[in-house]
């Protein structure tokens, strides 16, 4: 025994001040179990204590929003009696330690957030960030994470329809694995995670509870890695936090829960994610304004000799908590038996306690048997909603001006544009080929294009001809230079992706991956980024309906670049024909739609582009976000493509927005996919080749006059780029490449980098 043991509350991740708060709430000293409950529920991961005051600045309302942030998933009314639920989350630290299981359980967790709302999960997307693949450990992580998502997502029966893939040294010790899920439900089936009705039962569904993941939220997700090599530096104490996913259990759980909801047996339902049973019981009770008695001995265990603290906080996967009336118990038990899902009554909804001052408060009571000893008794709301809020110090990085001044736009020497372009081309097909992207027969545009587009259909949904489109996007290179503009532009780029499949953006979810919030620079980045997102969402008329904040993405004291990931959900009102995609044809005219020059002081800014960072230039300025200009082009393109989707005639034969790799990469990608070349006019230097500011589209048309008239009427600039045809990509005097070279290089880039070739 060491002479000065660490006080228990600190070992549980609570500060001395937080201990004081707990004493105030209880009016007494907490016992060990109570302290442990606060430790997990007040962790950064569960309570958002560092970010919550900033998140309030995001716009969250619109007429079509049915459920905004705060619930398990955001929900919008997509029309035709169908609601769409969507959520994104991170599973970063678990994936750094055990990439397969970390990513797999990430998929499992996000699915539960969505079917908790009564929605059938219809798709998954996976934005991924790793270090450079020259490092063998990164290759191991990539293969593990991708096979984990593949292994779990395919087996659980939800198609993975897109994502992102970014390689940058800042993620070498701290990879990011974000997972988005969207699902749909008949609007009238919407359910919330609320416990109500005194006397109702809390039923635990799914897996038994083991020691896996104990302290996951407080130990793993709310602290950085000490060393700089992730797993190797991870001490043994963190190892039990590794969980193994069971997609088969989850699949049966989904079917059983949806059947319970269809049967009308459920008053409220809530998934068990971080912080396990204590989280689900305290949140449902807090939302319902009731108390909850939980019997720890009623919880089926997988391991012997587990103590109440372990049982209450375990993060064992594939579990749900349903609140039902006692009369429905036989029906619930029978349905669960059919799906071979274990169901146990573990709690009772009880009256709130009336205090001396007349106020009533719902208590979470942990008992040893329903009539047994009370092991813990705390106000449910204090766990779920009353964690301290921190306005942590923020500081603009001292070196930011110097970094911004080091702008590659004007002085970075030009290499061979041919070689530069080839080096930028990466086809992520090796990743998404491993995902079932077609299940449910909805996938009109799968992974590999600008946004994924699905028919809005599924088992149990009313008939609809609508479609939904989703794109996930991020730009840490910009956000490192200017988190505010970078985040705003990321939202715009995502909206541009949706426009390419004819969809109008309706809602935003986000996953804010940042470093250690105790570093003032990180808090400044987070705050700026949120302001940028608010600016973009206000400017484009988009509500934020959910999100997730992942902090402590640091290793050995160094933080990742700010990485806000946005997921945009859009709707196509009539989807009876596929959008044109990238499929231009010989003889089509190619045009650039949208402003040809960035708004601001530089026509073709290169700060933060893949071209510049690929040459080691990470400084520079970021283009300005200008909502009016961006929205003009995006809305025009969305309308043009929506007409095609609705089955209308159109001269538009192809569309692709300009993003990573710039205009040159957009053209090369269209060449690679069609196998047909293009002859493009001279552009204004490598700036115009590789600049990445959004709101520009490469489009092909069989009737350029008619197209230009429509664009003119919409007030959107159109510039003629050239004509489709031949076997080469030519851009003025700068680029001249054979179609075959582009295709082969792009197709093999990832496998070569992964050393699989």
């Amino acid at each position: 025994m060491s002479s000065a043991p660490e006080p228990l509350h600190r070992a549980l991740g609570l500060t001395d001040a937080e201990l004081g708060d707990i004493r105030n709430v209880l009016g007494r000293e907490p016992n060990h179990l109570e302290l442990a409950l606060y430790g997990v529920m007040w962790s950064e991961h569960c309570s958002y204590k560092s970010s919550r005051m900033h998140l309030r600045r995001l716009p969250t309302e619109a007429p079509h929003v049915l459920v905004g942030p705060g619930e398990n998933a955001g929900v919008i009314d997509a029309g035709d009696g169908i609601a769409v639920a969507i959520r994104i989350e991170s599973h970063n630290h678990p994936s750094a330690i055990e990439p397969y299981q970390g990513a797999a359980t990430g998929v499992g967790g996000i699915l539960r957030d969505v079917f908790t709302m009564g929605a059938r999960p219809l798709c998954v997307m996976d934005p991924l960030f790793f270090g450079e693949l020259t490092d063998a450990r990164q290759r191991w992580l990539v293969e593990g994470v991708v096979s984990g998502i593949s292994g779990y997502g395919n087996s659980v029966g939800v198609p993975t329809i897109g994502g992102e893939l970014t390689f940058d040294d800042c993620y070498a010790s701290n990879p990011l694995v974000n997972v988005l899920c969207a699902g749909a439900l008949p609007t009238e089936r919407l359910v919330l995670g609320v416990a109500s009705g005194v006397g109702n039962l809390a039923v635990l569904l799914g897996s038994s509870t083991g020691r896996d993941g104990i302290g996951g939220v407080s130990v793993l997700a709310s602290a950085g890695f000490a060393g700089d090599d992730g797993a190797a530096s991870l001490d043994d104490a963190k190892r039990p936090s590794v969980q193994v996913g069971d997609p088969y259990e989850e699949k049966r759980l989904i079917e059983a829960c949806l059947a319970l909801l269809d049967g009308g047996y459920v008053v409220g339902i809530q998934d068990l994610g971080g912080a396990g049973i204590v989280c689900a019981t305290s949140e449902t009770a807090a939302r319902g304004g009731v108390g909850m008695d939980v019997d720890v001995t009623a919880i089926p265990l997988r391991e012997p000799r587990m103590v109440p603290y372990e049982i209450m906080t375990s993060e064992s996967q594939e579990r749900m908590l349903a609140i039902i009336t006692p009369e429905n118990w036989p029906a619930v038990a029978a349905l669960c038996a059919k799906w071979e899902v274990r169901a146990s009554v573990v709690g009772h909804v009880v009256e709130p306690v009336v205090r001396q001052d007349g106020t009533s408060v719902g208590m979470l009571r942990v008992r040893d048997g329903f009539d047994g000893e009370v092991l813990a008794e705390v106000p449910a709301k204090s766990l779920a909603d009353e964690a301290p809020l921190y306005d942590r110090p923020r500081r603009r990085p001292a070196d930011l001006d110097a970094i911004r001044a080091d702008d590659p736009t004007d002085d970075e020497p030009v290499g061979s544009p041919n070689d530069d372009l080839l080096a930028l081309l990466v086809d992520p097909a090796w990743v998404y080929r491993q995902y079932d992207s077609q299940l449910f027969l909805n996938t009109v545009v799968g992974p590999g294009r600008d946004a994924a587009l699905l028919r809005l259909a599924g088992p149990g949904l009313p008939h609809s001809e609508r479609g939904i489109a989703i794109s996930t996007d991020s730009n840490p290179r910009w956000c490192a230079l200017d988190p505010r503009a970078g985040t705003a532009l990321t939202v715009a780029e995502s909206a541009a992706n949706l426009a390419c499949v004819g969809a109008t953006a309706k809602a935003v979810v986000n996953c804010l991956n940042f470093g250690n919030p105790e570093h003032p620079e990180v808090m400044w980045q987070l705050s700026e980024s949120i302001d940028g997102m608010a600016e973009a969402c206000n400017g484009l008329g988009l509500p934020v309906i959910g999100g997730n904040v992942s902090l402590y993405n640091e290793s050995g004291g160094s933080d990742i670049d700010p990485t806000p990931v946005v997921g945009l959900l859009g709707v196509v009102d009539s989807l009876v024909a596929p959008p044109p995609g990238w499929n231009w044809r010989e003889g089509d005219a190619v045009v650039l739609v949208g402003t040809r020059r960035a708004v601001g002081d530089q026509a073709h800014p290169l700060g933060g582009t893949r071209w510049a960072t690929g040459r080691g230039r990470r400084g520079g300025r970021v283009p300005r976000f200008d909502a009016v200009t961006l929205a003009g082009a995006i809305d025009f393109v969305a309308a043009e493509i929506a007409r095609v989707c609705a089955g209308g005639t159109s001269d538009v034969t192809a569309v692709h927005d300009v993003s990573g790799g710039g205009l040159a990469a957009a053209l090369a990608e269209m060449v690679a996919v069609t196998g047909v070349g293009v002859d493009v006019v001279e552009l204004t230097g490598h700036g115009e080749l590789f600049s990445e500011f959004p709101g520009r589209f490469v489009m092909a048309t069989s009737d350029v006059e008619a197209f230009s008239v429509r664009a003119g009427a919409a007030g959107v600039p159109v510039a003629s780029l050239g004509v489709v045809g031949g076997g080469r990509l030519r851009i003025g005097t700068m680029v001249d490449l054979a179609v075959g070279d582009i295709t082969v290089r792009r197709r093999g880039a990832l496998e070569v980098a992964l050393a699989l070739d």
């Binding site: 096979s147 593949s150 088969y248 998404y432 080929r433 491993q434 077609q438 027969l441 088992p459 989807l575």
Partner: protein, 223 residues
Amino acid sequence: MTRIGVVVFPGSNCEYDAASGVTQLGAQAEFVWHSSTDLSGFDGIILPGGFAHGDYLRPGALARFSPVMEAVGRFAADGRPVLGICNGFQVLTEAGLLPGALQKNRGLTFLCQPTTLIVESTNSVLTSAATVGQELVIPINHFSGAYTCDDATLHQLEANGQVVLRYKDNPNGSRDDIAGVANVAGNVVGLMPHPERAMSTLLGSADGRVLLEGFVGAYVAVR
């Protein structure tokens, strides 16, 4: 109306898609839970794709012990149409209703991609409406799709015309590019590609129709 039973094991996930495929062709589809032992009244049975029993142990290894499989065996022995798609194919081989086995793909990764199939024989309930040599673009979606068998079995398959579909560009290391096989009578067929995913150009291909049309129409011939 033709009644097709679509068997649902816990862990199946393509049952809705398979049902949608045959209903689009005018048949009636009904789900059959894996504990059922009665298949009377059905004109054909589909074992759909997915991960029956989680694919734990091996794809199909636990599913073949599901109670319904005895009934499927009798249904097949009566000469009536049985179709296994992807996981359903794996179940049929594990159950011994089709020869061979399906191993992990050559590249050891899951593969979801379009493939071009060549119709090798029209002597089966699946390929009866197609023509020999016809090329069909139909997606695959599997981890364990490499068809494997010993030399003697392969010999027999070839001699009897039991190889019904081959890959044009073998994606997974299947022996002799085999994508689908039938039993000797031609009433039991399994294939790794998903014809039900190729029913409409909105989703990329309608080439699966000719296969499912053959299957839905097959019961007439059998009767």
